[in-house]
């Protein structure tokens, strides 16, 4: 019950307008989901440094949660380089060398009232209730200048309107993988049990988290992203259009029934994908764009040049 957007600038350059582009695209399709908005943004990576983002709430509860997180970081030999409390988030850059998956699961249980949003070398997920502009006002999304990113607007149906239930979803335990999804996975519990038996943890009951973990699992086994997307079309049942991003790539997959919309616009410089053309046109007002609708059961990926 949502709208999705993704953009990748193919050539690295200074001063890219990635954050602003995503805000514009989501504002263009906010009618598809006014309840919450979120972004997956990528910054520069640094050796042995991780970016962490948590929901901690506000006031005294937030202070207690942050204390708990700091204690847990110390316990796992993660040294805080810098940190910040922003909106209802606690954000930290830490020095860490170790098993990321174990570390992530430990962070999930760091403190009551603290929920991990994302952990990555370059990924940070920013999401909250409200519109694209509301979330930008709170977290300064327009300042993001990385080469690529994803966005999502959500109309909550089966679950409540709360920050944790908004997209994008991080692939818990796998650095830098995020997804945004429009649709419904109907074999959710079957696939989730299959992954749980192999030791993966799930932090929500949202079917979109499943896609993120499913893909990250494939990537960790050395499957290229494009191949993982192809497998997802066979393995996942339901109606879906989703976008995935990693440190260097974005990709999409669309189910065989083509029940959920998706449209893309590509030039030598960028690829932009959205639920509706109205979002793409926000980037190029007044222009008639040569757009393309991906066929049912299709998938593809794009990389930034490095």
């Amino acid at each position: 019950m949502c709208g999705i957007a993704g953009i990748l600038f193919k050539h690295d350059a200074d001063g890219l307008s990635t954050g602003k582009a995503l805000i514009d695209m989501l504002d263009g399709c906010q009618h598809r989901g006014p309840d919450s908005t979120g972004f997956a943004l990528y910054g520069n990576e640094q050796a042995d440094r991780l970016r962490l983002r948590f929901f901690v709430g506000e006031g005294a509860a937030a202070a207690a949660a942050i204390d708990g997180i700091k204690a847990a970081l110390a316990e796992h030999q993660a040294r805080i380089v810098e940190d910040q409390e922003i909106g209802n988030n606690y954000r930290a850059l830490v020095e860490f060398r170790g098993d990321l998956r174990k570390f992530s699961y430990a962070m999930e249980h760091a403190a009551p009232g603290a929920t991990v949003i994302s952990i990555g070398e370059s990924l940070e997920i920013v999401k909250d209730i409200g519109t694209a502009h509301d979330v930008d006002d709170r977290y300064g999304v327009h300042r993001a200048t990385g080469s690529h990113g994803l966005g999502h607007v959500r109309l909550a149906t089966e679950s409540d309107v709360k920050p944790e239930a908004s997209h994008p979803f991080w692939a818990t335990g796998f650095a830098d993988v995020a997804i945004v999804h429009n649709g419904q996975i109907t074999n959710y519990w079957k696939m989730r049990r299959r992954l749980q038996r192999r030791g993966f943890e799930f932090t929500t009951d949202n079917d979109s988290e499943l896609i993120a973990v499913y893909l990250a699992d494939k990537l960790s086994l050395g499957v290229p992203l494009k191949e993982a997307l192809k497998m997802s079309i066979d393995d996942l049942d339901g109606t879906f259009s989703f976008l995935v991003s990693t440190k260097d790539e974005i990709g999409y997959a669309k189910d065989r029934l083509a029940a959920k919309p998706m449209i893309m616009y590509e030039t030598d410089d960028l690829i932009a994908i959205a639920s509706e053309e109205v979002s793409l046109n926000r980037l190029f007002p007044g222009q008639a764009l040569d757009t393309r609708e991906p066929p049912p059961g299709s998938y593809d990926t794009w990389s930034r040049s490095t």
Binding site: M1, C2, G3, H31, R32, G33, P34, D35, L155, A156, T157, E158, D160, V161, N182, G183, Q184, T239, R256, L257, A258, A259, K260, P261, I263, S275, E276, E277, V278, L280, N281, R282, P285, G286, Q287, A288, L289, D290, T291, R292, E293, P295, P296
Partner: protein, 652 residues
């Protein structure tokens, strides 16, 4: 030529200007469209609208007469339900291009998305590029011409019409086949291509319905009908009903279809009683004059509300399931009692429109009889998602009732067993639904209340969606609701009882703090004023009655509605049977019944010490059974049963 710049004004205002230009006969140029939705929706004048760029969803939708020229791409549902007129798209079209068109010419110069021409009835949809998944899905008539590749499953479940393919055939859909093409057909396509200046040198293959799935291969034998009252007995496990059912299934080898409602005992309003001692009821000679009953429904978001003389409406029932005469009688009665009538599926008739003071026009998945002109003369618009008797299923109308006249109104071939689609072409989620609601508001100038009809299933989620998608009210239908034709097991076993539905709906509204944002009209087995008052106590804003109104108008409950040979002339399209029905006489009967309901509602409300029906509340009720108490959360007080029986003797 009038210029409308979407960089300067919103679509809503632009559409008003386009319609004004249409009334003056002036052409329009739309600048900076930037793929915005609903451009040109609701236009019914034969002007040309040039869109200088890309348009979004439903461009040129719900129109009759104009010519649209879009320089670049369009989103989903271009030319939705367009009658006469044309749309020429210079670029690509999204999914369901030409959905439900009724005569329009739609030309896509580029490629088109999935399910092009879904449920189209007449006209031409031409795609100069490639089509995609399931082009011609469930089409009923008209022609689709594809110059490029077919995409997968061409003509899936098409009923009528023709598809002409110039490029490669990827695969045929269910019940579609390749057939011979005639010289005349080729000439006609060539002339069409010339008219739109499209050159094509290749040859065509023709795809049509293969005719293997249009009708059930065996017909249900006529057996001696079992009266409903015998049918619903609970005498023993293997009763006569079970026996008859097994006999028939042994002959036909499939599920059975029948009319009327479910016969299983389910927790219902009759399991609730009034808390207060109402033994003084009847002392007031004219309770109707003592209680405020007038009710406004659907005005919370700025539309003109339905204004009904009591919190009661007629439930949606189709012309098709019922005869024209029966629909007319109900409409007259609703007018006499000053309440609202509802078209149900299958279109609006003049007689019905003239007789009903207030009429809700219902839009169903097959868009059968749906059109902009009747939308304009309705007092409310309703999107049917499902119904209580058979949640998740589309309407069923057996061949005997699909007469040439009825087929013409609906835009479908005559004599098929019509099984309406279970899903709308353009509503696959709450996100699509919100755009559809907006299309209807644009088409009707934001004046009419827009409601949603929901069969009780996942109420908690569905009600939240109804609020978020901006509906003005919901018609909530519990599983005690009836139907003209439904799968027998579905009617008995699928759904949520009416009292559980209203409780879940109100819980959901409380959950999101929107109790005041959405009005609920409850239906599904509401038989009289006593049931109605209990429903209002539970929290409904109004109730709707279908079966009770039909019975008041002569229905004998034989459950053979689906057969099409209703002896009373109610559920039939056979002129000989229909001639038995006297609409003027039955209208008086239905009206008298509705007035009885009015008296019952007033008498009970007055006896409870209230002067306004909105004062009724949950505290006025108790539960007579543990099940009803569990479902409603009301106090379990079986001791009031005797008193309740006495009360029913007084008001019944």
């Amino acid at each position: 030529m009038v210029a409308v710049d979407l960089a300067e004004i919103p679509v809503r205002e632009a559409n008003e200007r386009i319609r004004e230009a249409g009334a003056r006969g002036e052409d329009v140029e739309v600048l900076n469209p930037d793929a915005r939705h609903h451009i040109g929706v609701g236009l019914t004048d034969p002007i040309t609208v040039r869109v200088r760029g890309s348009a979004g969803y439903f461009c040129g939708g719900l129109t009759d007469g104009p010519r649209f020229e879009i320089d670049n791409n369009v989103g989903w549902g271009v030319a939705d339900n367009m009658y006469q007129g044309s749309v020429v798209v210079g670029g690509n079209a999204g999914a369901i291009a030409g959905v439900a068109i009724r005569g329009a010419e739609v030309v896509i110069k580029g490629n088109m998305g999935s399910r092009a021409g879904q449920v189209m009835k007449a006209g031409t949809l031409l795609c100069a590029g490639n089509a995609n998944f399931m082009a011609g899905y469930m089409m009923y008539g008209g022609r689709i011409v594809i110059l490029g590749e077919s995409g997968e499953r061409l003509g899936e479940d098409m009923t009528g019409g023709e598809i002409f393919l110039g490029g490669g055939l990827h695969s045929l859909g269910m019940d579609a086949m390749v057939t011979d093409i005639s010289r005349d057909e080729i000439d006609s396509i060539r002339a069409f291509l010339d008219r739109y200046e499209i050159s094509f040198k290749g040859t065509f293959q023709k795809v049509v319905n293969a005719g293997k799935r249009l009708r059930y291969s065996t017909t249900e034998p006529t057996v001696r009908s079992l009266p409903f009252f015998a049918f619903s007995d609970h005498s023993d496990y293997w009763n006569r009903k079970i026996q008859e059912d097994v006999y028939v299934k042994a002959r036909i080898g499939r599920y059975r279809v029948r009319g009327y409602g479910g016969a299983r005992a389910l927790p219902h309003l009759s399991d609730l009683a009034f808390r207060k001692d109402l033994s003084h009821l009847g002392q007031e000679a004219d309770p109707v004059s003592k209680v405020k009953m007038r009710t406004l429904i659907g005005g919370k978001n700025g539309a003109k509300p339905l204004d009904i003389s009591m919190p009661l409406m007629i439930a949606p029932m189709s012309y098709g399931a019922l005869s024209r005469s029966a629909k007319q009688a109900i409409a007259i009665a609703s007018g006499l009692s000053d309440i609202a009538e509802n078209t149900g599926e299958g279109g609006m008739s003049d007689a019905q429109r003239d007789a009903a003071k207030q009429l809700i026009f219902q839009c169903l998945s097959g868009r059968l009889g749906w059109n902009i002109h009747d939308m304009r003369r309705a007092d409310g618009i309703e999107i049917y998602i499902s119904q209580g008797a058979k949640p998740g299923f589309g309407g069923q109308l057996m061949a005997k009732k699909v007469t040439p006249e009825l087929a013409a109104i609906r835009g479908i071939p005559a004599g098929i067993d019509l099984r309406s689609p279970s899903r709308h072409p353009d509503i696959l989620g709450a996100d699509d639904l919100v755009i559809k609601v907006e299309e209807f508001r644009e088409a009707t100038g934001y004046k009419l209340p827009i409601s949603v009809k929901l069969g009780a299933g996942r109420i908690h989620d569905d009600i939240k969606i109804a609020v978020k998608d901006g509906f003005d009210f919901v018609e909530l239908d519990g599983m005690q609701g009836s139907t003209g034709a439904g799968g027998a097991e579905v009617m008995e076993y699928v759904g949520i009882p009416t009292i559980a539905a209203i409780v879940a709906a109100l819980d959901a509204l409380d959950d999101i703090g929107c109790r005041d944002k959405l009005e609920i009209v409850l239906m599904g087995g509401i038989r009289d004023g006593v049931d109605a008052v209990k429903a209002l106590c539970l929290g409904a804003d109004a109730v709707a009655m279908g079966t009770a109104a039909i019975v008041a108008g002569g229905c004998i409950a034989c459950m053979q509605c689906h057969v099409g040979q209703c002896v009373t002339g109610i559920a039939t399209q056979d002129p000989e049977h229909e001639a038995r029905y006297k609409p003027q006489v039955e209208a008086r009967n239905i009206h008298r019944f509705l007035e009885t309901v009015r008296w019952q509602m007033a008498a009970l409300t007055h006896a409870m010490g209230y002067h306004d029906m909105t004062q009724l509340n949950r505290e006025d009720l108790v539960a007579l059974t543990p099940e009803a108490a569990e479902i409603t959360g009301l106090a379990y007080e079986p001791g009031t049963r005797e008193r309740e029986a006495e009360l029913l003797g007084k008001v019944g």
